[in-house]
């Protein structure tokens, strides 16, 4: 019985998708939302009219989803929208060309009626919101999947902040986020978005199907000076097809932060970089990714490397942090900051905790879907400290910061921690070793055996312990100068200006 109900519901949803022009890939929830938002207004019936019939010597049931305009206030009803004159003329024309009535005379009398100005129902746009945005003028449009998720979004927020600092009017469109309410967790928005106009694509686009042509039309109509597409699959699909047309009015940039294939999914650069029209310029926050992209580019495309900005403390503040470290004893405490998931090297951390039993490891970062137990982090000397902003952590309590990640572009957290006057031991991941020398960041080579990598971390930490304070301070100052030179807001602004001007 349950199987019968499930099959019936699946059938109804499939039929509704076909009737409403929704992709068969969309979830049942989105179909229900479509019906509530758009389908009812268009007069689509979620529950079909069923009729039994016999045909070809068998009995069957035939469902139809009649379309009526009756529910729509202010619009003509079906009976008056098409006059008898018009219906008779179509029938007369069918005498010249019978294919006019391919649908059959009986069906013709019930043919669906749409209104060309029913932008909401037929054309995939919420008219009021769309018109309001089209009447505004934007210099830059940034297309992202979400307002806030991870490191790439921090970079995007910095980009948006810089553009608004350049006095540009910026629109940020989130293509996957359904809604956001400032104040709740899902609606949390990074500070950098402050002066920009934020919209979800769902608030502009009434079609439940994520269609690249609708996004292209919208951006084309806006014709901003610059379009940035960052990690939005819909945006990238749109650029593949409509990038050439859009580049007539706008300069278009897309960012790829990594070309890794060792993760749960290959990065977007692997999939899109070679198929984007050549007018689209590609940027990254790190040189390693740019080199890989250049290697397989055959279009003479323009590439830009603009490292991520971090908040650089004043030199005196940094000197005070070093002074604090000089005056206190070793604490035998080590700090680890990242999303708590296996791709961030939790297995290495677990093995290292076994190797250095006398140390306490404090873990900061958001938990993901895996439990700490399954990640091997339920240990006597591993303490989970929750999610905290770096500015809220007292780094002087720790002997060193370890970064065990297995894949990265140019990890933001390492750049931020580099401003906290604490020695860093990290896997040789992403582009870190192209920016930092082995004295500034103590690198551990990655391999497939977490125990070997953990042993490398152990050796590096023991070596750090043996450094005298003047040598240690020299390394920390050199680390700070490196970040100051490459990752200040000023350097980021200069790089961005060079790219867009």
């Amino acid at each position: 019985m349950l199987e019968f109900i499930r099959a019936s519901l699946t059938y109804l949803i499939r039929r509704y998708k076909a009737q409403a022009g929704i992709s068969q890939k969309q979830s049942a929830l989105r179909v229900l939302l479509h019906y509530l938002i758009t389908g009812r207004r268009r007069g689509l019936l979620l529950l079909p009219k069923g009729k039994f019939f016999s045909a070809n010597r068998s009995l069957g049931i035939h469902f139809s989803f009649p379309t009526t305009r009756d529910g729509e206030a202010g619009k003509k009803s079906e009976t008056t929208a098409i006059s008898a004159i018009v219906r008779n003329e179509v029938r007369a024309l069918a005498k010249l060309d019978p294919s006019v009535l391919s649908m059959g005379r009986e069906q013709f009398d019930k043919a669906p009626i749409f209104f060309s100005d029913d932008v909401w129902g037929n054309s995939g746009f919420f008219p009021v919101e769309t018109a309001k945005l089209l009447m505004s003028e934007f210099d830059s449009v940034v297309v992202v999947p979400h307002f806030v998720i991870g490191g790439a979004d921090k970079y995007t927020a910095a980009l948006v902040s810089a553009l608004t600092d350049f006095n540009k009017r910026v629109l940020v469109v989130a293509t996957l986020q359904e809604s956001f309410i400032p104040g709740n967790i899902a609606g949390t928005v990074l500070e950098g978005y402050g002066k920009a106009t934020l919209r979800t694509w769902a608030s502009i686009n009434s079609a439940m199907e994520l269609r690249e042509d609708y996004l292209a039309r919208f951006l084309h109509a806006l014709s901003p000076r610059e379009i940035f597409v960052i990690n939005s699959e819909l945006g990238l699909d749109m650029l593949v097809k409509f990038g050439t047309a859009l580049s007539n009015k706008s300069k278009i940039y897309t960012y790829f932060f990594s070309m890794d294939t060792d993760t749960f999914i290959a990065q977007y650069g692997v999939r899109y970089a070679r198929i984007l029209p050549k007018q689209i310029e590609i940027a990254s926050d790190n040189q390693v990714t740019i080199s890989k992209l250049r290697n397989f580019d055959a279009t003479n495309r323009i590439f830009h490397c603009i490292p991520a900005p971090v908040e650089i403390p004043h030199e005196e503040t940094y000197a005070t942090k070093i002074e604090t470290r000089r005056t206190r004893d070793k604490t035998k405490k080590i700090i680890w900051i990242s999303r708590v998931e296996k791709f961030k090297g939790t297995e290495i951390l677990s093995n290292l905790a076994d190797e250095l039993e006398e140390y306490e490891f404090h873990v900061f970062g958001p938990l993901q879907t895996e439990s700490r137990r399954s990640l091997g982090l339920r240990k006597r000397n591993i303490v989970y400290k929750g999610e905290k902003h770096i500015s809220q952590i007292d780094f002087s309590l720790y002997d060193c910061f370890i970064f065990t990640s297995l894949f990265e572009g140019n990890p933001n957290v390492v750049l931020e921690v580099a401003c906290e006057a604490i020695p860093i031991v990290s896997t040789d991941v992403g582009s870190l070793s192209t920016q930092f020398s082995s004295n500034q960041v103590h690198f551990v080579p990655l391999n497939s055996d977490p125990r070997t990598v953990a042993a490398g971390f152990r050796d590096a930490i023991v070596k750090l312990e043996k450094l005298d304070s003047s040598q240690s301070e020299e390394y920390l100052i050199s680390l700070f100068q490196n970040v100051n030179r490459n990752n200040s807001t000023e350097v980021f602004h200069e790089g961005l200006k060079r790219m867009i001007h």
Binding site: D117, S123, L134, G243
Partner: protein, 241 residues
């Protein structure tokens, strides 16, 4: 006063017969005091279409063989060749109610600054024939009506850039077509869609589009060779100016 009726053909083949008959029905309804001319462009037309057009239209139309490869430029060419004060643009594989030209002309004479379109478009899918049906009806058939209404939305300069409210079929003063010619398709720039671009350009100049009550335009939706599908697959967008 004269009405110039402009048609473009490319690969319509045997559809030419019905088109010519529908055109004759419309011409019969034209007011007596109006002269008319029919100008046809065979734009990179295939051999069969060329033969058919010459056979069916030879007596009543001036036929030009052109090599533009897109309907916009072919229409501009015909506009230049036309002698009428009013022009009607028609597609070679569609059909129209017999009152279309007469009613539209009547309104255009009264409002020469506007562009007129049929009120109703009936999109007929030949593929509807093949569908399974019961009791004379199929839930899968796609043929449908679209009602065109002139209002703030369909004449909005902003919204017409994201939605093409009006079909290519229209009737207006020649001066409008001369002032705002159709833009050619440019595959390198991926810009084109001549009718949408023209609607954007005209609405942008403040020229209102209006529908003519009780007129219908039957648009053939083919399984293959649809210009809309081609434009979408090639990533073409309309010209904005």
């Amino acid at each position: 006063m004269r009405l110039s009726i402009l048609l473009t053909f490319n690969s319509e083949g045997s559809y030419v017969f019905a088109t010519q008959k529908a055109l004759l029905r419309m011409i019969e309804k034209l007011p007596q005091n109006f002269d008319h001319e029919v100008l046809v462009a065979l734009d990179r037309a295939d051999e069969f279409t060329t033969q058919e057009v010459k056979k069916r239209f030879g007596q009543q139309a001036t036929v030009f063989v052109t090599n533009f490869g897109n309907p916009g430029e072919a229409r501009n060419f015909l506009v230049d060749k036309s002698k009428g004060e009013f022009i009607s643009i028609l597609d070679g594989d569609d059909l129209w109610s017999d009152n279309w030209l007469a009613c539209a002309l009547e309104m255009a004479v009264l409002s020469p600054g506007k562009i007129f379109h049929p009120e109703i478009a009936f999109y007929f899918y030949e593929s509807d024939i093949d569908l399974p049906f019961a009791r004379g009806a199929s839930p899968f058939s796609k043929s449908h009506f679209v009602v065109h209404q002139a209002n703030g939305m369909s004449n909005s300069e902003h919204m017409t850039k994201v939605v093409n409210f009006w079909t290519a079929h229209c009737l207006a003063s020649k001066s409008i077509f001369k002032a705002i010619p159709y833009k050619p398709n440019n595959r390198i720039l991926a810009l084109g869609i001549e009718d949408w671009s023209w609607n954007i350009a005209t609405i942008g100049r403040g020229i209102e589009h209006e529908s003519v009550p009780n007129t219908v335009h039957c648009i053939r939706v083919k399984r293959q060779g649809s210009l809309n599908a081609l434009n979408n697959s090639e990533g073409t967008l309309p010209w904005l100016e």
